[in-house]
């Protein structure tokens, strides 16, 4: 009896110990796997977002004239390359370093003290910084001095983008603390780019021949882009990359909202394209390809802030509104304000980014954030509007300041002769389409 009891006791004891050991091992393995999933998902998503650079390059090249294609390509290559170096040296530290009163970061310059998870996070963030920087290229296309654009690229990735980014995406940022929600960067990335683009386009002035006067009234002339297939390819590439942009912003491969985010992103982009096609069909009598492409981008920019908190139906309404808004905005900026934005960057990124951010205050439907339409009252809407306005004042204001300083020192715009001949020859001494005959009558 006694022996039996002892055996039983020992067996039970052994069982408990092994189970405990086994449990520890399982926890460790799970932890390792979840870290691995985060690593894989974020680096993969970063690569997707990086590919959006190709999308921007193609959209901008397609929507401008053949004589400036090399210049656009160089700008897109360099705003990433110069921007990435600047974001490594200064940008990351200002955005994610230890916060000084919620306004800017103060340590981790040159990624000091980085470990594998910081490398991972930097990789994911640098492609966002580059996205904000490259938006400006399109609005300032066909007339900006290349060297001036290089200077701009460094400043935007080192200072302008990281500071407003700090307010919102650093957990100690003042807007983050106020409860401002911008999941993947409608405001942080797209509006910032859009508002700097607006400042740049205003200070540069219109391309030669863009506006003419009839009986004392300024009228807009169309300067058609030279390659719509490239522009369309660019939009599809951007859309493809956006799955990394939005779904990657879960910052975790084990976050199961990735599915919802991919769905809201798809629906909003589709709704945006449909809405701007219909708007252009009614307004211009024909469904306009270039405007419909802008509409898809508008839908994507619009859903970026709320992709994780909106319902699928909500995302469709956000996209539809963005699609209509982008057409109205393009027409308003061109025909009323007479600001020359060759690719509609201010409308697609600035205006629709602001709309998407405000839309969070209307359409959010989660336990943490409830928008106006889901019984959340005006609180979130107010915070979202405050964020949109603060970022507008910051990005547009500092954009004006930066471009005025550049204009006073090294000059912002190429000479008239160079503009007529094309920036490819003037700035880069080579043409994009050697062996082709190109009409350069504008």
């Amino acid at each position: 009896m006694k022996v039996k009891r002892i055996i039983l006791f020992v067996t039970a004891g052994l069982f408990v110990t092994t189970t405990e050991l086994f449990a520890n091992e399982v926890t460790e393995t799970l932890e390792l796997h979840s870290q691995a999933l985060d690593m894989i998902w974020l680096v993969l998503a970063a690569a997707l977002v990086f590919f959006m650079q190709a999308g921007f390059a193609m959209v901008e090249t397609g929507l401008t004239r053949a004589k400036n294609a090399n210049n656009i390509l160089m700008k897109n290559l360099m705003d990433f390359s110069a921007g990435a170096l600047a974001y490594w040296a200064i940008g990351w530290a200002i955005m994610y370093g230890v916060s000084s009163a919620g306004f800017f970061g103060t340590n981790q310059f040159f990624l000091a003290g980085a470990d594998s998870s910081l490398f991972r996070d930097w990789m994911f963030q640098v492609v966002f910084a580059a996205t904000a920087a490259t938006i400006v290229s399109g609005a300032m296309a066909e007339r900006t001095k290349f060297s001036s654009y290089l200077v701009y690229s460094v400043f935007v990735s080192a200072l302008i983008y990281p500071i407003s980014g700090h307010w919102i995406w650093n957990c100690d940022g003042w807007l983050a603390n106020a409860g401002f929600h911008d999941f993947a960067g409608s405001t942080v990335v797209h509006s910032v780019g859009g508002w700097i683009a607006l400042a740049g386009a205003i200070l540069l002035g219109a391309r030669k021949g863009k506006y003419f006067e009839v009986a004392g009234k300024k009228q807009a002339r169309a300067i058609p882009g030279h390659n719509m297939p490239l522009a369309a390819l660019g939009v599809f590439i951007l859309w493809f990359g956006w799955y990394g942009f939005n779904a990657g912003s879960t910052l975790s491969g084990t976050d199961l909202s990735i599915g919802l985010i991919a769905v809201t992103t798809t629906l909003s982009a589709s709704a945006g394209a449909v809405a701007s096609m219909i708007t252009s069909w009614i307004w211009f009598k024909k469904p306009d390809p270039s405007m419909s492409l802008n509409g898809a981008l508008a839908g994507l920019v619009g859903i970026t802030a709320g992709c994780a908190v909106a319902t699928p139906l909500g995302s469709i309404i956000i996209g539809l509104t963005a699609g209509i808004l982008v057409v109205l905005s393009v027409e308003f900026i061109d025909k009323v304000l007479h600001i020359d934005d060759p690719v509609g960057a201010v409308s697609a990124h600035g205006v629709c980014g602001a709309w998407g951010t405000i839309a969070v205050g209307l359409f959010a439907n989660t336990d943490d954030i409830k928008g106006l339409f889901y019984g959340g009252g005006f609180n979130q809407l107010g915070i979202q509007t405050l964020g949109v306005l603060s970022v507008f004042v910051w990005a547009f204001g500092i954009g004006l300041l930066l471009f005025i300083s550049i204009r006073k020192t090294i000059g912002l715009r190429v000479s008239e002769t160079e503009e007529l001949q094309g920036l490819d020859i003037g700035e880069h001494g080579s043409e994009a389409y050697a062996g082709f005959q190109i009409f350069s009558t504008q």
């Binding site: 021949g209 020859i425 001494g429 080579s430 050697a434 190109i438 009409f439 009558t441 504008q442």
Partner: protein, 113 residues
């Protein structure tokens, strides 16, 4: 009947067309052309290797007119295309033997107008 052929700077096409419309000359053919004159060329470089480009992009306009339209047409082209710099272009006026409108079979002065 005269055939007027003008080589102008590409970016002046719009101005020239507008001046021509003002004197009721609305029929013309326009083609891309390459040409070299006094303007000389410029240098491009491809991967560090120099390329001398001396054929510049020009626009060729052809207009067939009746005699009384020669002066207004030439004047309009000059007004639209002239900047005073080398490279503004040239206008050639030649006699035109005949002109036939394909659709109606009209010939000569009637076919031009």
């Amino acid at each position: 009947m005269k055939l007027i052929v003008a080589y102008i700077q590409p970016h002046k096409l719009n101005d020239v067309k507008q001046e021509l419309f003002k004197v009721d000359v609305v029929k013309m053919s326009v083609t891309n052309a390459l040409g070299c004159g006094q303007q000389m060329g410029y240098h491009e470089s491809y991967r560090g290797v120099d390329i001398e480009v001396n054929l510049l992009k020009k626009i060729r306009i052809e207009i067939a007119v009746n005699k009384e339209f020669v002066k207004p047409t030439v004047d309009a082209i000059i007004k639209g295309a002239r900047s005073g710099n080398i490279g503004d272009g040239k206008i050639f006026v030649t006699n035109l033997e005949d002109c036939i409108r394909i659709r109606s079979g009209e010939t000569g002065n009637e076919a031009i107008g």
